[in-house]
């Protein structure tokens, strides 16, 4: 609630950041200016620069990955099977370079992914407890 539409992404100021990403990739000057101004207003100028930089980084890395035809590395391929399915990533032409895992491997990947998520959540909570103790 405190971060408006960011609640839909679960990320603070997600709406503003997505607007800037969309505008830069589309090379829409008016939309980029509007999105940038909004980020400056709500998050500060440094955040606007950093957001533009992340867009730039992945404009680079996406082209390197696709133009060289690399497949997804084994470990990420294993733990992202759920994400691949939920987001329909296999519809991308570039997905054909990464083989689909057999059912039992997808199950292992799903379990590892949930374990990792639980571990990260626990670590986050422990950090929160630690910082409260120090204050």
């Amino acid at each position: 609630m405190a971060n408006g539409d960011g609640a839909k992404t679960g990320v603070a100021h997600g709406h503003e950041l997505l607007a800037l990403a969309d505008a830069i990739v589309a090379r829409d000057r008016a939309a980029t200016e509007a999105a940038r101004d909004e980020i400056v207003r709500t998050m500060g100028a440094a955040a606007a620069v950093d957001a533009a930089c992340v867009v730039g980084n992945f404009e680079c890395m996406n082209r390197i990955a696709d133009a060289t035809g690399i497949a997804l590395d084994a470990a990420p391929a294993l733990v992202t099977t759920d994400i691949q399915q939920e987001m329909g990533l296999r519809r991308f032409a570039s997905a054909g370079r990464t083989r689909e895992l057999p059912g039992w491997q997808r199950g292992v990947g799903r379990a590892l992914s949930r374990l990792a998520h639980a571990g990260l959540t626990l670590r986050g909570r422990l950090r929160g407890l630690g910082s409260r103790g120090r204050s």
Binding site: T9, G10, V11, A12, G14, L17, L18, L20, A21, D22, I24, V25, R27, R29, T32, E33, R36, V40, M43, G44, A45, A46, A47, A48, V49, D50, A51, A52, C53, V54, V55, G56, N57, F58, E59, C60, M61, N62, R63, I64, A65, D66, A67, T68, G69, I70, A71, L72, D73, M87, L89, F92, A93, S94, A95, R97, T98, L120, R123, G124
Partner: protein, 232 residues
């Protein structure tokens, strides 16, 4: 060299400006496989590809292969090289092994292709940052004379990609341009300034020196990758 980002309305980090300056200066020099003149011409073509009508038609078509025509040009490079630059720039997700193999007959072997991809990718990256911060694109540098250096990695391996990659245990995307060490250096230098340093990447939950949180960074990264239809 003209000061980069001079006309941006936003304050530009020193490390960001410095990284762009270094990569921009290297663009003008002879590379591993191409002369400085060819490298700058490749960059010019990568820049004009964004307004090329043939590229736009191909992107909108179900398959790019049957769409014939001529590219909007910015150089005197051979047609096959111009086509490769424009494809990497505007439709990389549909590049195939057959297409890369076909470049060999035009003298673009695996190392030349790696260097070409590196130039295009870095150019698009820096242009996107300029666009995002409200600055004009960096003016193309004056090429420096000299022959290609011939620099190559000691060992490369085939991992089923379109070209061999440098041997090692790093993720494939960090090894993909390894036939051309300068391209890897440019990619890493820009990556540190644009995204995160390697030691920061593996520290999940942290964003180091950035004004964005890690989740915010990854949200933007995911969005761009989805828009570019990049499965990796």
């Amino acid at each position: 060299m003209t000061e980069l980002f001079r006309d941006s309305p936003l304050p530009i980090r020193d490390d960001l400006r410095a990284a762009h300056e270094r990569v921009w200066q290297r663009l003008a020099r002879p590379g591993s496989a191409w002369t400085g003149e060819t490298r700058v011409a490749i960059a010019a073509e990568a820049r004009v590809a964004g307004t090329c009508s043939l590229c736009r038609e191909r992107r909108e078509a179900v398959s790019p292969a049957p769409v014939a025509g001529e590219h909007t040009r910015a150089s005197e490079l051979p047609e096959a090289i111009v086509d490769a630059v424009h494809r990497v720039s505007t439709d990389a997700s549909r590049i195939t092994q057959a297409f890369v193999d076909s470049l060999a007959s035009a003298g673009v072997d695996a190392r030349r292709y790696a260097e070409l991809v590196g130039i295009v990718a870095c150019l698009r990256s820096m242009d996107a940052v300029c666009f995002g911060v409200g600055a004009r694109p960096h003016p193309l540098p004056t090429p420096e004379a000299g022959e290609p250096t011939g620099d190559a990695p000691a060992r490369s391996e085939s991992i089923g990609a379109f070209i061999p990659v440098v041997e090692g245990r790093l993720p494939a995307v960090l090894r993909a341009l390894g036939l051309c060490p300068d391209a890897v250096r440019d990619m890493q230098e820009l990556g540190e300034a644009h995204y995160l340093g390697h030691d920061e990447i593996v520290r999940l939950g942290r964003s180091g020196r950035r004004a964005l949180t890690r989740p915010q960074i990854e949200l933007v990264a995911s969005r761009v990758s989805a828009l570019n239809e990049c499965f990796y």
